[in-house]
Amino acid sequence: MKKKSIWVFGDYRNYYQNRVTLQLIARAVDLAREISAEVCAVVVGHDLEEWIWEYTSHGADRILAIDHPTLTSYSTEHYLILMERLVRERDPEIILIGATDFGREFAPRLAKRLKTGLSADCVGLDITPDGLLVQTAPSFGGNMLAEIVTEHHRPQMATVRPGTFREIPHDNTRTSVVERLPLPAHLPAPRVRLVEYERAAQKEHTIENATVMVCGGRGMGNKKNFKKLDELARLLDGDVGATRPVVFSGWAGHDALVGQAGKHIKPKILFSFGISGAIQHTAGLGEADFIVAINKNPQATMMKMADVAVVADAGDWLNHLIRELKKRIRE
């Protein structure tokens, strides 16, 4: 029987910020062990030697490379044609794709062409005892996780959020089987023409890309207390967010509104002061790695969602936290 294969799509744009391909190779190595498969990285583009070497030294067993000047810039359509063809020829068991902007557009279209299932933006991948890929993905605004399986169609496909898995350290003694494949003779011209492109200027800072968020709700009591959140945000190099009642009360501007009607945030650390956790707000919270909720009511939804739930008056605790932090932070 042919050896099973887990494929990782080589997404190398913004390489030094975007490590998702390496992270997926690392996870694929774990999964491959459970289903006795090999890990294959597929890379399409031009001047690929650097990526072939990188994917090999980070754990891939096999590299499928299509290297051609025609493929110099990313083209979703060309990549779709080439991937569909490769998949049909070789029948991989699983395909993992990074949930970059590119991946989120490319993967659904590839899955559709292959008439198979796809789960988006996974935060976990596991193998069941009978060898199925369990794709754990956020559902309902990120408050819940769903375990998804593709039972009857192959390949099983998932996009995975960057940062979910940890790459295997670089080891340049590793080797892989590198297959350099030719560009098919009759690659049709893409229907979508890339007229021009340029690297964007550094993304302007908004709360949507803040690393630390300090959010406040009605539980802050009044505008004066709410304004103290600015000081905590300043100490932690973070930004202040607000719930809808707070914005309606004029304690914060609309720019600070976090939730369904406002901004979607995905901080590494989220402080949630006096917020009950209505869905209109929590729908705007991505998967914060570390949530600290402060509320008088230990039963509040936000307290249940938190890593650390502090049962206290939000305004009062904020004052103490600021005082303690000022003692401890070395600027």
Partner: protein, 265 residues
Amino acid sequence: MVTELPWDEETGTLRRDLAAGMMNPACKHAMEAALQLREKYGASITAITMGPPAAEEVLREALAMGADRAVLICDALLAGSDTYATSSILARAIQKEIPGCDLILCGAYTSDSETAQVGPQLAEELQVPSAAYAEHLEISGRTLRVRRLVDNFRETLEMECPALITVSMERYDPRYASFAGLNDAFAQTEISVLNAEALGITAAEREAYGSRTRVRRVFVRSAQKRNVVITGAAANAAAEFLDKYQRKISAVIGKSIETKKQAQT
């Protein structure tokens, strides 16, 4: 919208009906883009969605914003469809109800990230050129020009209509529906409702239109969180919190947070 587990034990699917009453923010941006294109180039706008009867409210909202007509695909047989099935069914409905349409706009993201796949999959199903995350659209003749930001690259793309575009939330800030619009939306415009039979989806086609994925289990995210509870006097609780977590915070913000000797005594 939902606050409790919207998980239907009997059918093993997500209870999307509980979340169906509001238009997705991203779809509002798509709707706004459609309205601006109509103002500039002239067009007729059809809003289309698939969902339980409550999804009619989303269409009323679209009509209030200015859509000319609305189509609801609603059938218990189609409940629990994944994005693969949804895009197949939507494509069938578009071909039947809006034949010859020039441009299909969808939201580029949703709070429920899964459904952001429907746009690109619909493009495949309709076999039209497509681009995601559009921030600006222009039409000259049959050519559509799209500006977008993807993975930190600014791209300008061109394609011929008909095409499918998903609209970013960075631009095309949605207008508010006027009261007059709301009144009209509820009083005047009929919403066409289609079921599977009306779309001509037969039992034999169930495989072609069927879902590829199955949700095994849904659980509250916080179940994964450790949910440490800190109580007690606020002053001590703040110090206790920092004693436990200052290293973690320090690592994220790249500033040293340390307990000074005198602070401990």
